[in-house]
Protein backbone atom coordinates (compact mmCIF):
# COMPACT_ATOMS: atom_id res chain seq x y z
CA UNK A 1 0.00 0.00 0.00
CA UNK A 2 2.77 2.41 0.99
CA UNK A 3 6.11 1.97 -0.74
CA UNK A 4 8.89 4.36 0.14
CA UNK A 5 12.21 4.04 -1.56
CA UNK A 6 15.29 6.01 -0.49
CA UNK A 7 13.47 9.19 0.36
CA UNK A 8 15.59 12.18 1.21
CA UNK A 9 14.37 15.50 2.44
CA UNK A 10 16.31 18.53 3.55
CA UNK A 11 15.37 22.02 4.62
CA UNK A 12 17.33 25.05 3.56
CA UNK A 13 18.09 27.24 6.57
CA UNK A 14 19.87 30.23 5.11
CA UNK A 15 23.15 28.91 3.77
CA UNK A 16 22.85 25.73 5.80
CA UNK A 17 21.11 22.66 4.48
CA UNK A 18 19.52 20.55 7.19
CA UNK A 19 18.86 17.00 6.10
CA UNK A 20 15.88 15.58 7.99
CA UNK A 21 15.27 12.35 6.12
CA UNK A 22 18.43 10.61 5.03
CA UNK A 23 17.27 7.86 2.75
CA UNK A 24 14.26 6.09 4.20
CA UNK A 25 13.00 2.76 2.93
CA UNK A 26 9.60 1.65 4.11
CA UNK A 27 6.95 -0.76 2.92
CA UNK A 28 3.54 -0.97 4.53
CA UNK A 29 1.14 -3.50 3.11
CA UNK A 30 -2.61 -3.26 2.89
CA UNK A 31 -4.36 -3.96 6.17
CA UNK A 32 -1.40 -3.29 8.45
CA UNK A 33 -1.63 -1.38 11.74
CA UNK A 34 1.71 0.39 12.06
CA UNK A 35 3.10 2.85 14.58
CA UNK A 36 6.01 5.17 13.92
CA UNK A 37 8.08 6.22 16.91
CA UNK A 38 11.11 8.30 17.46
CA UNK A 39 12.44 11.17 19.53
CA UNK A 40 11.75 14.72 18.42
CA UNK A 41 14.03 15.63 15.56
CA UNK A 42 14.06 12.08 14.29
CA UNK A 43 12.07 13.12 11.23
CA UNK A 44 8.85 11.34 12.06
CA UNK A 45 6.67 14.42 11.56
CA UNK A 46 8.33 15.12 8.23
CA UNK A 47 7.80 11.54 7.19
CA UNK A 48 4.15 11.77 8.15
CA UNK A 49 3.75 14.99 6.12
CA UNK A 50 5.26 13.27 3.11
CA UNK A 51 3.04 10.23 3.61
CA UNK A 52 0.10 12.65 3.86
CA UNK A 53 1.10 14.40 0.60
CA UNK A 54 1.31 17.64 2.54
CA UNK A 55 5.02 18.04 1.92
CA UNK A 56 7.44 17.45 -0.93
CA UNK A 57 10.66 15.45 -0.89
CA UNK A 58 13.76 15.87 -2.99
CA UNK A 59 14.97 12.36 -3.70
CA UNK A 60 13.55 8.89 -3.82
CA UNK A 61 10.06 7.66 -4.59
CA UNK A 62 6.81 7.36 -2.71
CA UNK A 63 4.10 5.13 -4.14
CA UNK A 64 0.70 5.24 -2.52
CA UNK A 65 -1.66 2.48 -3.66
CA UNK A 66 0.49 2.03 -6.74
CA UNK A 67 0.58 5.71 -7.71
CA UNK A 68 3.77 7.75 -7.59
CA UNK A 69 3.36 10.77 -5.35
CA UNK A 70 6.02 13.18 -6.49
CA UNK A 71 6.00 16.83 -7.58
CA UNK A 72 2.24 16.96 -7.65
CA UNK A 73 0.34 20.15 -8.34
CA UNK A 74 -1.63 21.51 -5.40
CA UNK A 75 -4.80 20.44 -7.12
CA UNK A 76 -3.62 16.84 -7.67
CA UNK A 77 -2.27 16.62 -4.13
CA UNK A 78 -5.63 17.76 -2.77
CA UNK A 79 -7.36 15.17 -4.91
CA UNK A 80 -5.20 12.30 -3.60
CA UNK A 81 -5.48 13.47 -0.01
CA UNK A 82 -9.20 13.52 -0.38
CA UNK A 83 -9.57 10.15 -2.06
CA UNK A 84 -6.71 8.05 -0.65
CA UNK A 85 -6.11 9.39 2.85
CA UNK A 86 -7.89 10.02 6.13
CA UNK A 87 -6.25 12.28 8.71
CA UNK A 88 -6.55 12.19 12.49
CA UNK A 89 -4.78 14.91 14.50
CA UNK A 90 -3.70 15.32 18.08
CA UNK A 91 -5.91 18.35 18.61
CA UNK A 92 -8.80 16.94 16.55
CA UNK A 93 -9.19 20.00 14.27
CA UNK A 94 -12.94 19.94 14.12
CA UNK A 95 -14.59 23.10 12.71
CA UNK A 96 -16.12 24.83 15.72
CA UNK A 97 -19.10 26.26 13.87
CA UNK A 98 -20.20 22.93 12.43
CA UNK A 99 -21.90 20.16 14.36
CA UNK A 100 -20.51 16.63 14.57
CA UNK A 101 -22.47 15.43 11.56
CA UNK A 102 -21.33 18.34 9.34
CA UNK A 103 -17.74 17.85 10.43
CA UNK A 104 -17.81 14.20 9.50
CA UNK A 105 -19.48 14.94 6.16
CA UNK A 106 -16.98 17.64 5.09
CA UNK A 107 -14.54 15.48 3.02
CA UNK A 108 -17.41 14.27 0.84
CA UNK A 109 -18.31 17.89 0.12
CA UNK A 110 -15.03 18.15 -1.76
CA UNK A 111 -16.02 15.07 -3.75
CA UNK A 112 -19.22 16.88 -4.81
CA UNK A 113 -21.41 14.31 -3.09
CA UNK A 114 -24.94 15.56 -2.56
CA UNK A 115 -25.83 16.93 0.82
CA UNK A 116 -28.36 14.24 1.62
CA UNK A 117 -26.08 11.42 0.65
CA UNK A 118 -23.10 12.65 2.64
CA UNK A 119 -25.21 13.38 5.71
CA UNK A 120 -26.61 9.87 5.58
CA UNK A 121 -23.16 8.38 5.36
CA UNK A 122 -21.88 10.66 8.13
CA UNK A 123 -24.68 9.49 10.40
CA UNK A 124 -23.79 5.85 9.71
CA UNK A 125 -20.18 6.52 10.65
CA UNK A 126 -21.12 8.37 13.83
CA UNK A 127 -23.20 5.32 14.78
CA UNK A 128 -20.19 3.14 14.09
CA UNK A 129 -17.91 5.17 16.41
CA UNK A 130 -20.62 5.14 19.06
CA UNK A 131 -21.77 8.77 18.73
CA UNK A 132 -25.09 8.28 16.92
CA UNK A 133 -26.86 10.33 19.59
CA UNK A 134 -24.37 13.21 19.39
CA UNK A 135 -24.72 13.99 15.68
CA UNK A 136 -26.21 17.46 16.18
CA UNK A 137 -23.84 18.47 18.97
CA UNK A 138 -21.30 21.19 18.39
CA UNK A 139 -17.64 20.33 19.06
CA UNK A 140 -17.55 22.41 22.26
CA UNK A 141 -20.33 20.18 23.63
CA UNK A 142 -18.21 17.04 23.20
CA UNK A 143 -15.46 15.56 25.38
CA UNK A 144 -11.94 15.03 24.07
CA UNK A 145 -12.52 11.35 23.42
CA UNK A 146 -15.76 12.06 21.64
CA UNK A 147 -14.09 14.73 19.50
CA UNK A 148 -11.41 12.27 18.46
CA UNK A 149 -14.01 9.71 17.56
CA UNK A 150 -15.77 12.32 15.41
CA UNK A 151 -12.40 13.00 13.77
CA UNK A 152 -11.90 9.29 13.10
CA UNK A 153 -15.37 9.10 11.57
CA UNK A 154 -14.41 12.07 9.36
CA UNK A 155 -11.20 10.27 8.33
CA UNK A 156 -13.21 7.21 7.36
CA UNK A 157 -16.01 8.86 5.41
CA UNK A 158 -14.23 9.11 2.07
CA UNK A 159 -13.42 5.40 2.32
CA UNK A 160 -9.67 6.08 2.10
CA UNK A 161 -6.92 3.55 1.53
CA UNK A 162 -4.83 4.71 4.50
CA UNK A 163 -5.61 6.37 7.82
CA UNK A 164 -2.81 8.64 9.03
CA UNK A 165 -2.92 9.59 12.69
CA UNK A 166 -0.58 12.11 14.26
CA UNK A 167 -0.34 11.59 18.03
CA UNK A 168 -4.05 10.77 18.16
CA UNK A 169 -4.00 10.12 21.90
CA UNK A 170 -1.69 12.99 22.78
CA UNK A 171 -4.45 15.12 24.22
CA UNK A 172 -6.39 12.33 25.90
CA UNK A 173 -6.23 10.63 29.31
CA UNK A 174 -5.16 7.01 29.44
CA UNK A 175 -8.63 5.52 29.68
CA UNK A 176 -9.90 7.50 26.69
CA UNK A 177 -6.67 6.71 24.87
CA UNK A 178 -7.44 3.04 25.24
CA UNK A 179 -10.91 3.52 23.81
CA UNK A 180 -9.54 5.47 20.84
CA UNK A 181 -6.89 2.80 20.24
CA UNK A 182 -9.57 0.13 20.38
CA UNK A 183 -11.43 2.08 17.71
CA UNK A 184 -8.31 2.20 15.54
CA UNK A 185 -7.92 -1.56 15.93
CA UNK A 186 -11.52 -2.03 14.95
CA UNK A 187 -11.02 0.16 11.88
CA UNK A 188 -7.92 -1.85 11.05
CA UNK A 189 -9.82 -5.09 11.51
CA UNK A 190 -12.29 -3.93 8.88
CA UNK A 191 -9.40 -3.92 6.42
CA UNK A 192 -8.06 -0.37 6.51
CA UNK A 193 -4.36 0.34 6.61
CA UNK A 194 -3.60 2.54 9.67
CA UNK A 195 -0.39 4.46 10.37
CA UNK A 196 -0.03 6.09 13.77
CA UNK A 197 2.76 8.46 14.74
CA UNK A 198 3.25 8.44 18.49
CA UNK A 199 5.81 8.85 21.22
CA UNK A 200 3.85 6.75 23.69
CA UNK A 201 5.06 3.18 24.11
CA UNK A 202 1.62 2.03 25.31
CA UNK A 203 0.12 3.18 22.04
CA UNK A 204 2.85 1.57 19.97
CA UNK A 205 2.37 -1.70 21.85
CA UNK A 206 -1.19 -1.88 20.60
CA UNK A 207 -0.09 -1.85 16.97
CA UNK A 208 1.13 -4.92 15.14
CA UNK A 209 4.30 -3.28 13.89
CA UNK A 210 6.47 -0.48 15.19
CA UNK A 211 8.97 1.51 13.14
CA UNK A 212 11.60 3.43 15.07
CA UNK A 213 13.17 6.45 13.43
CA UNK A 214 16.38 8.07 14.56
CA UNK A 215 18.29 10.89 12.88
CA UNK A 216 16.38 10.55 9.66
CA UNK A 217 16.78 6.84 9.10
CA UNK A 218 14.84 3.72 10.11
CA UNK A 219 16.61 2.38 13.13
CA UNK A 220 14.32 -0.46 13.99
CA UNK A 221 11.32 -2.19 12.44
CA UNK A 222 9.68 -4.67 14.79
CA UNK A 223 6.57 -6.80 14.59
CA UNK A 224 4.79 -6.99 17.89
CA UNK A 225 4.03 -10.49 18.94
CA UNK A 226 0.48 -11.00 20.08
CA UNK A 227 -1.10 -8.17 18.14
CA UNK A 228 -3.04 -9.39 15.20
CA UNK A 229 -3.23 -7.31 12.09
Amino acid sequence: MIHINQIRKSYQMGSLSLEVLKGIDLNIEEGELVSIMGPSGSGKSTLLNILGILDQYQEGEYHLAGTLMKSLSERKAAYYRNHYLGFVFQSFHLLEFKNALENVALPLYYQKVSRRKRNRKARELLERVGLGDRAEHMPNELSGGQKQRVAIARALISDPKVILADEPTGALDSQTSDQVMDLFKEVNASGKTVVIVTHEAEVAEKTSRTIHLRDGVVQNDTHNAGVAS
Binding site: L54, N82, F89, F97, L106, Y110, S158
Partner: protein, 415 residues
Amino acid sequence: MIFNLDHWLEIWQTVRKNKLRTALTMFSIAWGIFMLILLLAAGRGLENGVRYQFRDDAANSIWITPRITGEPFRGLKAGRSVNLTIEDYEMVRDTIPGVEHITARFNLRGNFLVRNGLQFSRFPIRSVHPGHKYLEKTEMRRGRFLNERDIDERRKVAVIGNRVVDTLFKQTDPIGQWIDINGIQYKVVGVFTDVGGVGEQRMIYIPITTGQAAYGGANRIHRLMFTMGDADLEESKRIEQNVRNLLAERHVYSPDDPRAIRLFNHVENYQRFLQLFQGIALFIWIVGIGTIIAGIVGVGNIMLISVKERTKEIGLRKAIGAPPSDIIGLFLLESMTLTVLAGYIGLVAGIGTVELVQHVLGTMGNPPEFFRDPHVDVHAAAGAALILVLAGVVAGLIPARRAAAIDPIVALRDE
Protein backbone atom coordinates in the same frame (compact mmCIF):
# COMPACT_ATOMS: atom_id res chain seq x y z
CA MET B 1 -20.18 27.95 -7.11
CA ILE B 2 -22.82 30.63 -6.80
CA PHE B 3 -25.62 28.08 -6.69
CA ASN B 4 -23.95 25.94 -4.07
CA LEU B 5 -26.00 26.00 -0.89
CA ASP B 6 -23.01 24.88 1.20
CA HIS B 7 -21.02 27.95 0.23
CA TRP B 8 -23.86 30.21 1.26
CA LEU B 9 -24.15 28.35 4.56
CA GLU B 10 -20.41 28.79 5.13
CA ILE B 11 -20.70 32.52 4.47
CA TRP B 12 -23.74 32.84 6.67
CA GLN B 13 -21.94 31.04 9.49
CA THR B 14 -18.86 33.29 9.35
CA VAL B 15 -20.96 36.44 9.01
CA ARG B 16 -23.01 35.41 12.01
CA LYS B 17 -19.88 34.85 14.05
CA ASN B 18 -18.79 38.49 13.54
CA LYS B 19 -22.05 40.40 13.38
CA LEU B 20 -20.86 43.84 14.45
CA ARG B 21 -17.69 43.82 12.38
CA THR B 22 -19.58 42.70 9.30
CA ALA B 23 -22.32 45.26 9.86
CA LEU B 24 -19.84 48.13 10.19
CA THR B 25 -17.98 47.11 7.06
CA MET B 26 -21.16 46.74 5.08
CA PHE B 27 -22.23 50.15 6.32
CA SER B 28 -19.11 51.75 4.85
CA ILE B 29 -19.87 50.25 1.43
CA ALA B 30 -23.56 51.12 1.63
CA TRP B 31 -22.68 54.66 2.63
CA GLY B 32 -20.28 55.04 -0.28
CA ILE B 33 -22.91 54.01 -2.80
CA PHE B 34 -25.57 56.06 -1.05
CA MET B 35 -23.43 59.19 -1.31
CA LEU B 36 -22.51 58.49 -4.93
CA ILE B 37 -26.19 58.19 -5.89
CA LEU B 38 -27.10 61.35 -3.96
CA LEU B 39 -24.26 63.34 -5.49
CA LEU B 40 -25.11 62.17 -9.00
CA ALA B 41 -28.76 63.09 -8.50
CA ALA B 42 -27.84 66.50 -7.08
CA GLY B 43 -25.56 67.15 -10.06
CA ARG B 44 -28.37 66.22 -12.39
CA GLY B 45 -30.73 68.48 -10.47
CA LEU B 46 -28.40 71.44 -10.89
CA GLU B 47 -27.95 70.67 -14.57
CA ASN B 48 -31.70 70.45 -15.11
CA GLY B 49 -32.06 73.75 -13.27
CA VAL B 50 -29.72 75.46 -15.70
CA ARG B 51 -31.33 73.81 -18.71
CA TYR B 52 -34.62 75.13 -17.37
CA GLN B 53 -33.19 78.63 -17.30
CA PHE B 54 -32.39 78.27 -20.98
CA ARG B 55 -35.71 76.74 -21.95
CA ASP B 56 -37.41 80.02 -22.89
CA ASP B 57 -35.03 81.15 -25.59
CA ALA B 58 -33.44 79.12 -28.33
CA ALA B 59 -30.09 77.90 -27.02
CA ASN B 60 -28.58 77.95 -30.51
CA SER B 61 -29.09 81.65 -31.11
CA ILE B 62 -27.21 84.93 -31.35
CA TRP B 63 -28.80 88.19 -30.19
CA ILE B 64 -27.43 91.52 -31.35
CA THR B 65 -28.26 94.94 -29.95
CA PRO B 66 -26.71 98.07 -31.53
CA ARG B 67 -24.93 100.52 -29.21
CA ILE B 68 -22.47 103.38 -29.47
CA THR B 69 -18.97 103.05 -30.94
CA GLY B 70 -16.15 103.17 -28.44
CA GLU B 71 -13.18 103.71 -30.74
CA PRO B 72 -12.42 106.18 -33.54
CA PHE B 73 -12.27 104.45 -36.91
CA ARG B 74 -11.18 105.61 -40.39
CA GLY B 75 -11.21 109.22 -39.35
CA LEU B 76 -14.58 108.98 -37.66
CA LYS B 77 -14.86 109.86 -34.01
CA ALA B 78 -15.87 107.51 -31.22
CA GLY B 79 -19.33 107.85 -29.67
CA ARG B 80 -21.41 107.44 -32.80
CA SER B 81 -24.67 105.50 -32.56
CA VAL B 82 -24.84 102.34 -34.60
CA ASN B 83 -28.24 102.26 -36.25
CA LEU B 84 -29.30 98.86 -37.50
CA THR B 85 -31.95 98.73 -40.21
CA ILE B 86 -34.05 96.22 -42.09
CA GLU B 87 -31.22 96.15 -44.64
CA ASP B 88 -28.89 94.72 -42.02
CA TYR B 89 -31.52 92.09 -41.34
CA GLU B 90 -31.70 91.26 -45.04
CA MET B 91 -27.92 91.20 -45.49
CA VAL B 92 -27.41 88.84 -42.55
CA ARG B 93 -30.30 86.67 -43.74
CA ASP B 94 -29.08 86.51 -47.34
CA THR B 95 -25.27 86.54 -47.12
CA ILE B 96 -24.23 84.77 -43.92
CA PRO B 97 -24.19 80.98 -44.31
CA GLY B 98 -25.43 79.03 -41.32
CA VAL B 99 -28.14 81.48 -40.31
CA GLU B 100 -31.36 79.51 -39.88
CA HIS B 101 -34.36 81.43 -38.52
CA ILE B 102 -33.88 85.16 -38.30
CA THR B 103 -35.92 88.07 -37.02
CA ALA B 104 -35.49 91.69 -36.24
CA ARG B 105 -37.31 93.44 -33.44
CA PHE B 106 -38.62 96.96 -33.43
CA ASN B 107 -39.43 97.89 -29.86
CA LEU B 108 -42.58 99.69 -28.94
CA ARG B 109 -41.76 101.18 -25.59
CA GLY B 110 -43.97 100.74 -22.59
CA ASN B 111 -47.31 98.98 -22.24
CA PHE B 112 -50.14 99.87 -24.55
CA LEU B 113 -53.78 100.21 -23.84
CA VAL B 114 -55.46 97.30 -25.58
CA ARG B 115 -59.21 97.11 -25.85
CA ASN B 116 -61.79 94.56 -26.94
CA GLY B 117 -65.17 96.17 -26.64
CA LEU B 118 -65.57 96.98 -22.98
CA GLN B 119 -62.63 94.89 -21.86
CA PHE B 120 -59.30 96.65 -21.75
CA SER B 121 -55.92 96.45 -20.13
CA ARG B 122 -52.28 97.35 -20.75
CA PHE B 123 -49.98 94.92 -22.53
CA PRO B 124 -46.45 95.02 -23.98
CA ILE B 125 -46.13 94.90 -27.79
CA ARG B 126 -43.31 93.49 -29.92
CA SER B 127 -43.08 94.04 -33.66
CA VAL B 128 -41.13 91.23 -35.25
CA HIS B 129 -40.53 88.96 -38.24
CA PRO B 130 -42.10 85.49 -38.59
CA GLY B 131 -38.80 83.87 -37.56
CA HIS B 132 -39.23 85.31 -34.07
CA LYS B 133 -41.38 82.34 -33.20
CA TYR B 134 -38.28 80.12 -33.16
CA LEU B 135 -36.22 82.48 -31.04
CA GLU B 136 -38.63 82.80 -28.15
CA LYS B 137 -39.89 79.24 -28.55
CA THR B 138 -43.40 80.61 -29.01
CA GLU B 139 -45.96 77.78 -28.98
CA MET B 140 -49.06 78.38 -31.06
CA ARG B 141 -52.29 77.32 -29.38
CA ARG B 142 -54.73 78.44 -32.03
CA GLY B 143 -54.56 80.17 -35.41
CA ARG B 144 -51.15 81.05 -36.79
CA PHE B 145 -48.08 83.17 -36.11
CA LEU B 146 -47.12 86.12 -38.30
CA ASN B 147 -46.18 85.29 -41.90
CA GLU B 148 -44.31 86.94 -44.77
CA ARG B 149 -47.43 88.44 -46.31
CA ASP B 150 -48.24 90.16 -43.03
CA ILE B 151 -44.78 91.74 -43.27
CA ASP B 152 -44.95 92.62 -46.97
CA GLU B 153 -48.43 94.14 -46.78
CA ARG B 154 -47.97 95.74 -43.37
CA ARG B 155 -51.13 94.06 -42.24
CA LYS B 156 -52.74 95.10 -39.02
CA VAL B 157 -52.78 91.65 -37.48
CA ALA B 158 -51.85 90.54 -33.97
CA VAL B 159 -50.82 87.30 -32.33
CA ILE B 160 -51.68 87.41 -28.66
CA GLY B 161 -50.55 85.51 -25.58
CA ASN B 162 -52.96 83.36 -23.64
CA ARG B 163 -52.94 85.81 -20.71
CA VAL B 164 -54.18 88.49 -23.09
CA VAL B 165 -56.98 86.16 -24.15
CA ASP B 166 -57.89 85.56 -20.50
CA THR B 167 -58.22 89.29 -19.88
CA LEU B 168 -59.86 90.52 -23.06
CA PHE B 169 -61.94 87.63 -24.37
CA LYS B 170 -63.15 85.55 -21.42
CA GLN B 171 -64.94 82.61 -23.05
CA THR B 172 -65.23 83.78 -26.67
CA ASP B 173 -62.92 82.67 -29.48
CA PRO B 174 -60.47 85.52 -30.16
CA ILE B 175 -59.47 84.35 -33.68
CA GLY B 176 -60.83 86.77 -36.27
CA GLN B 177 -61.87 89.32 -33.62
CA TRP B 178 -60.61 92.89 -33.73
CA ILE B 179 -58.71 94.51 -30.89
CA ASP B 180 -57.85 98.16 -30.46
CA ILE B 181 -54.22 98.90 -29.71
CA ASN B 182 -53.63 102.56 -28.94
CA GLY B 183 -56.43 103.58 -31.29
CA ILE B 184 -55.59 101.27 -34.19
CA GLN B 185 -57.66 98.16 -34.99
CA TYR B 186 -55.80 94.85 -35.33
CA LYS B 187 -57.24 91.51 -36.32
CA VAL B 188 -56.30 88.61 -34.01
CA VAL B 189 -54.88 85.75 -36.12
CA GLY B 190 -53.32 83.55 -33.46
CA VAL B 191 -52.99 82.71 -29.80
CA PHE B 192 -49.76 81.43 -28.28
CA THR B 193 -48.25 80.38 -25.03
CA ASP B 194 -44.63 80.61 -23.91
CA VAL B 195 -42.76 78.63 -21.27
CA GLY B 196 -40.91 81.81 -20.38
CA GLY B 197 -43.49 82.73 -17.80
CA VAL B 198 -46.34 85.20 -17.27
CA GLY B 199 -44.43 88.14 -18.78
CA GLU B 200 -44.04 86.36 -22.12
CA GLN B 201 -47.63 85.14 -22.06
CA ARG B 202 -48.90 88.76 -21.78
CA MET B 203 -47.12 89.69 -25.02
CA ILE B 204 -48.74 90.84 -28.27
CA TYR B 205 -46.84 90.36 -31.54
CA ILE B 206 -47.47 92.51 -34.63
CA PRO B 207 -45.60 92.56 -37.97
CA ILE B 208 -42.40 94.60 -37.72
CA THR B 209 -43.30 96.64 -40.79
CA THR B 210 -46.64 97.56 -39.24
CA GLY B 211 -44.90 98.53 -36.02
CA GLN B 212 -42.33 100.68 -37.81
CA ALA B 213 -45.00 102.44 -39.86
CA ALA B 214 -47.41 103.02 -37.02
CA TYR B 215 -44.83 104.25 -34.52
CA GLY B 216 -42.46 106.24 -36.70
CA GLY B 217 -39.63 103.77 -36.93
CA ALA B 218 -38.84 104.17 -40.63
CA ASN B 219 -36.72 101.05 -41.30
CA ARG B 220 -34.83 101.03 -38.00
CA ILE B 221 -34.61 97.95 -35.86
CA HIS B 222 -33.62 97.61 -32.21
CA ARG B 223 -32.47 94.07 -32.21
CA LEU B 224 -31.40 91.34 -34.56
CA MET B 225 -31.71 87.69 -33.55
CA PHE B 226 -31.16 84.44 -35.37
CA THR B 227 -30.76 80.73 -34.75
CA MET B 228 -28.01 78.54 -36.21
CA GLY B 229 -29.54 75.07 -36.49
CA ASP B 230 -27.37 72.45 -34.82
CA ALA B 231 -24.16 74.42 -35.18
CA ASP B 232 -21.53 73.52 -32.60
CA LEU B 233 -19.56 76.06 -30.62
CA GLU B 234 -16.88 76.43 -33.27
CA GLU B 235 -19.41 76.88 -36.05
CA SER B 236 -21.36 79.42 -34.02
CA LYS B 237 -18.18 81.40 -33.34
CA ARG B 238 -17.48 81.47 -37.08
CA ILE B 239 -20.99 82.72 -37.88
CA GLU B 240 -20.67 85.25 -35.07
CA GLN B 241 -17.43 86.58 -36.53
CA ASN B 242 -18.94 86.83 -40.03
CA VAL B 243 -21.88 88.85 -38.69
CA ARG B 244 -19.55 91.08 -36.66
CA ASN B 245 -17.46 91.79 -39.75
CA LEU B 246 -20.49 92.42 -41.90
CA LEU B 247 -22.04 94.90 -39.48
CA ALA B 248 -18.72 96.65 -38.82
CA GLU B 249 -18.18 97.03 -42.53
CA ARG B 250 -21.68 98.36 -43.16
CA HIS B 251 -21.68 100.81 -40.27
CA VAL B 252 -18.03 101.78 -40.48
CA TYR B 253 -16.61 100.93 -37.09
CA SER B 254 -13.76 98.73 -36.03
CA PRO B 255 -14.71 95.02 -35.97
CA ASP B 256 -12.74 94.85 -32.71
CA ASP B 257 -14.70 97.65 -31.09
CA PRO B 258 -16.37 95.93 -28.13
CA ARG B 259 -18.83 98.71 -27.52
CA ALA B 260 -20.36 99.21 -30.98
CA ILE B 261 -22.77 96.32 -30.65
CA ARG B 262 -23.70 93.96 -27.89
CA LEU B 263 -23.66 90.42 -29.18
CA PHE B 264 -24.85 87.54 -27.09
CA ASN B 265 -23.92 84.05 -28.30
CA HIS B 266 -26.17 81.59 -26.47
CA VAL B 267 -24.31 78.59 -27.87
CA GLU B 268 -21.16 79.74 -26.15
CA ASN B 269 -22.91 80.25 -22.84
CA TYR B 270 -24.81 77.03 -23.11
CA GLN B 271 -21.67 75.12 -23.99
CA ARG B 272 -19.88 76.68 -21.07
CA PHE B 273 -22.61 75.51 -18.74
CA LEU B 274 -22.63 72.04 -20.23
CA GLN B 275 -18.87 71.84 -19.79
CA LEU B 276 -19.26 73.01 -16.22
CA PHE B 277 -21.68 70.19 -15.58
CA GLN B 278 -19.46 67.66 -17.26
CA GLY B 279 -16.77 68.82 -14.87
CA ILE B 280 -19.11 68.54 -11.91
CA ALA B 281 -20.17 65.04 -12.99
CA LEU B 282 -16.53 63.98 -13.26
CA PHE B 283 -15.83 65.42 -9.84
CA ILE B 284 -18.82 63.57 -8.39
CA TRP B 285 -17.65 60.27 -9.83
CA ILE B 286 -14.16 60.81 -8.46
CA VAL B 287 -15.46 61.62 -4.98
CA GLY B 288 -17.99 58.77 -5.11
CA ILE B 289 -15.49 56.21 -6.27
CA GLY B 290 -13.05 57.44 -3.64
CA THR B 291 -15.69 56.80 -0.99
CA ILE B 292 -16.32 53.33 -2.42
CA ILE B 293 -12.59 52.58 -2.43
CA ALA B 294 -12.55 53.33 1.29
CA GLY B 295 -15.32 50.75 1.60
CA ILE B 296 -13.38 48.23 -0.49
CA VAL B 297 -10.33 48.65 1.71
CA GLY B 298 -12.61 48.03 4.70
CA VAL B 299 -13.99 44.83 3.25
CA GLY B 300 -10.51 43.68 2.20
CA ASN B 301 -9.31 44.36 5.72
CA ILE B 302 -11.99 42.34 7.45
CA MET B 303 -11.48 39.54 4.97
CA LEU B 304 -7.75 39.52 5.80
CA ILE B 305 -8.55 39.30 9.49
CA SER B 306 -11.04 36.58 8.72
CA VAL B 307 -8.39 34.60 6.81
CA LYS B 308 -5.99 35.00 9.71
CA GLU B 309 -8.57 33.83 12.23
CA ARG B 310 -9.53 30.89 10.08
CA THR B 311 -5.99 29.72 9.33
CA LYS B 312 -6.52 26.41 11.14
CA GLU B 313 -9.84 25.86 9.43
CA ILE B 314 -8.36 26.55 6.00
CA GLY B 315 -5.42 24.26 6.76
CA LEU B 316 -7.80 21.49 7.77
CA ARG B 317 -9.91 21.98 4.66
CA LYS B 318 -6.83 21.74 2.48
CA ALA B 319 -5.60 18.65 4.35
CA ILE B 320 -8.85 16.81 3.78
CA GLY B 321 -8.81 17.66 0.10
CA ALA B 322 -10.07 21.16 -0.67
CA PRO B 323 -8.42 22.33 -3.93
CA PRO B 324 -6.97 25.89 -3.88
CA SER B 325 -9.63 27.09 -6.31
CA ASP B 326 -12.29 26.14 -3.81
CA ILE B 327 -10.65 28.16 -1.03
CA ILE B 328 -10.27 31.19 -3.32
CA GLY B 329 -13.88 30.86 -4.40
CA LEU B 330 -15.08 30.72 -0.82
CA PHE B 331 -13.45 34.03 0.13
CA LEU B 332 -14.23 35.77 -3.15
CA LEU B 333 -17.86 34.82 -2.84
CA GLU B 334 -17.93 36.06 0.74
CA SER B 335 -16.49 39.46 -0.12
CA MET B 336 -18.71 39.79 -3.18
CA THR B 337 -21.74 38.90 -1.14
CA LEU B 338 -20.89 41.52 1.47
CA THR B 339 -20.18 44.29 -1.04
CA VAL B 340 -23.06 43.55 -3.39
CA LEU B 341 -25.56 43.22 -0.57
CA ALA B 342 -24.33 46.35 1.20
CA GLY B 343 -24.09 48.23 -2.07
CA TYR B 344 -27.58 47.24 -3.03
CA ILE B 345 -28.87 48.56 0.29
CA GLY B 346 -27.02 51.83 -0.36
CA LEU B 347 -28.37 51.97 -3.91
CA VAL B 348 -31.96 51.47 -2.81
CA ALA B 349 -31.59 53.94 0.07
CA GLY B 350 -30.02 56.51 -2.28
CA ILE B 351 -32.67 56.18 -4.96
CA GLY B 352 -35.37 56.25 -2.28
CA THR B 353 -33.96 59.48 -0.86
CA VAL B 354 -33.78 61.04 -4.32
CA GLU B 355 -37.40 60.06 -4.97
CA LEU B 356 -38.37 61.63 -1.68
CA VAL B 357 -36.58 64.87 -2.55
CA GLN B 358 -38.30 64.86 -5.93
CA HIS B 359 -41.64 64.39 -4.24
CA VAL B 360 -40.98 67.27 -1.85
CA LEU B 361 -39.86 69.52 -4.72
CA GLY B 362 -43.02 68.54 -6.60
CA THR B 363 -45.26 69.61 -3.73
CA MET B 364 -43.49 72.94 -3.28
CA GLY B 365 -45.55 75.75 -4.81
CA ASN B 366 -42.48 77.69 -5.85
CA PRO B 367 -39.66 75.25 -6.62
CA PRO B 368 -36.09 76.55 -6.58
CA GLU B 369 -35.05 77.83 -9.99
CA PHE B 370 -31.60 76.31 -10.14
CA PHE B 371 -32.47 72.86 -8.84
CA ARG B 372 -35.01 70.82 -10.73
CA ASP B 373 -35.93 67.17 -11.16
CA PRO B 374 -32.93 65.47 -9.52
CA HIS B 375 -32.78 61.85 -10.57
CA VAL B 376 -30.41 58.95 -11.16
CA ASP B 377 -30.43 57.64 -14.69
CA VAL B 378 -30.26 53.95 -15.52
CA HIS B 379 -26.70 54.18 -16.80
CA ALA B 380 -25.41 55.64 -13.56
CA ALA B 381 -27.23 52.99 -11.51
CA ALA B 382 -25.89 50.21 -13.76
CA GLY B 383 -22.42 51.74 -13.50
CA ALA B 384 -22.65 51.76 -9.72
CA ALA B 385 -23.77 48.12 -9.72
CA LEU B 386 -20.86 47.14 -11.93
CA ILE B 387 -18.46 49.00 -9.66
CA LEU B 388 -19.87 47.02 -6.73
CA VAL B 389 -19.25 43.61 -8.24
CA LEU B 390 -15.75 44.66 -9.26
CA ALA B 391 -15.21 46.07 -5.79
CA GLY B 392 -16.21 42.76 -4.30
CA VAL B 393 -13.71 40.89 -6.45
CA VAL B 394 -10.93 43.38 -5.75
CA ALA B 395 -11.62 43.35 -2.02
CA GLY B 396 -11.65 39.57 -1.88
CA LEU B 397 -8.74 38.87 -4.18
CA ILE B 398 -5.78 39.49 -1.87
CA PRO B 399 -7.33 37.77 1.17
CA ALA B 400 -8.49 34.83 -0.99
CA ARG B 401 -5.04 34.34 -2.46
CA ARG B 402 -3.51 34.55 0.96
CA ALA B 403 -5.96 31.91 2.16
CA ALA B 404 -5.12 29.63 -0.76
CA ALA B 405 -1.42 29.99 0.03
CA ILE B 406 -1.80 28.73 3.59
CA ASP B 407 0.39 25.72 4.24
CA PRO B 408 -1.65 23.05 6.04
CA ILE B 409 1.46 21.74 7.79
CA VAL B 410 2.01 25.11 9.42
CA ALA B 411 -1.66 25.75 10.02
CA LEU B 412 -2.30 22.41 11.70
CA ARG B 413 0.89 22.27 13.75
CA ASP B 414 0.07 21.77 17.41
CA GLU B 415 1.42 24.44 19.66
